[in-house]
Symmetry: C2
Subunit: 235 residues, 2 copies
């Protein structure tokens, strides 16, 4: 299928929260793009990615002509229902691309690391030109906030989005573990990690780089959606 005369899809990582952590490349595209796609988790919930790019796009002279697509990507586990949501979002984006309009799909953190962009990318890559712009990951931003190196020299770094039965093996074979969205399974996590006998330091960051950022020694206190826990094992 020819990709000529069609719009190009940009997958843009907008970083962890602070608008100043957008890259120059992301800003350049966001200043020119006619269509922005920013998924939200519920119809009445504001997209965090959109709030990050807002200070940039609101300064555009043609801000009022900008189209913002906001498909709903609910946080559900049912695979069939999810597939349907991703199909719908991809179709919505394709409509603009077919008109020859470029579309920027914005996503928290980086578009290649646990991002909803992946699902859209797979559905559209055969028919449309795609460019991916990397973003600052939450775990790198958390390490910056706590001012501790994540890994040095020959350290092994493991990124875990959800604890599974191999957590013990992973803890034995790493120097640092970054746990994404820790608040989801905090109790189970605390138990398993405290049972691990290796000496360790644990830090959590809630709403990293945002105005309400909170750094905690140990596990997250509340249950914010955006929380990352870093476990550094001692040598």
């Amino acid at each position: 299928m020819t990709k000529i005369n069609k719009g190009k899809l940009f997958g843009i990582g907008v970083g962890p929260g602070d608008s100043e952590l957008l890259t120059l490349k992301a800003v350049k595209i966001l200043n020119e793009i006619p269509v922005i796609c920013s998924p939200r988790s519920a119809p009445n919930k504001e997209s965090i990615a959109l709030s990050i790019v807002n200070p940039i796009i609101k300064k555009r002279k043609d801000f009022k002509e900008l189209t913002v697509l906001e498909p709903v990507f609910p946080m559900i586990e049912d695979p069939l229902s999810l597939e349907k949501h991703w199909d719908d979002a991809s179709e919505l984006i394709a409509k603009s691309l077919n008109k020859g309009l470029n579309v920027a799909f914005i996503t928290l953190g980086d578009p290649s690391i646990y991002s909803t962009f992946s699902y859209v990318q797979k559905r559209l890559e055969d028919s449309y030109l795609i460019e991916v712009i990397p973003g600052i990951t939450s775990f790198a931003a958390c390490a910056s906030s706590i001012k501790k190196p994540l890994v040095e020299k020959d350290d092994v770094l493991i990124i875990i989005p959800k604890i599974k039965e191999n957590l013990e093996i992973l803890m034995e074979n790493s120097d640092t573990i970054a746990l994404m969205k820790t608040s989801r399974n905090k109790k189970e996590l605390e138990n398993k990690i405290n049972h691990q006998i290796r000496e360790k330091e644990i830090f959590s960051v809630e709403n990293c780089t945002m105005e309400n950022e909170k750094i905690i020694k140990g596990f997250p206190e509340n249950k914010p959606y955006l929380s990352t826990t870093i476990i550094k094992f001692k040598k």
Copy 2:
């Protein structure tokens, strides 16, 4: 020890190579800072981090007054000799900080992930204010270049800077592995990875996001300093 009246040290991640992947925050600091510290691996070798920020700092009206410190951090293994180099670099930076001048230590990728900044940070954090600005990591940039998601859903991501005896266990317990600076031990790596029976896709990126970027299916062909290999295991 009081930190007042002294300069502040910024650890700035400049990303993988493309100057457009600098963050707004990094650019803002680089446009105001009086002293930049950019380590080089040999006295006659140009610093890659410095070449990334050059398009920014060269536009400064006061470019000629900017101080650029370039301590040598050789790529040697001897710990005692390395300690001496880091001590010297930290002293050099401290001289500017003691004069009340802010210093930006620039580093490839992110300052918390396998960065020389860590060594300076540890030596200076008790005596000076430090702020860390995260950068785009090489592995996120590589995934963007090859246009493949690195990890999705509950995938486990492992970052390995140097292969060790536990590589087999790590391969068994991950969905994606990012191997940093693969060219260093290419032969051994190829052998070990090809022996792993899990079905996999292997991609390497040499000089990611730079003008001479090269994407390879498999392991890096030549021996560039900047090469990253991504192994995606199939489910």
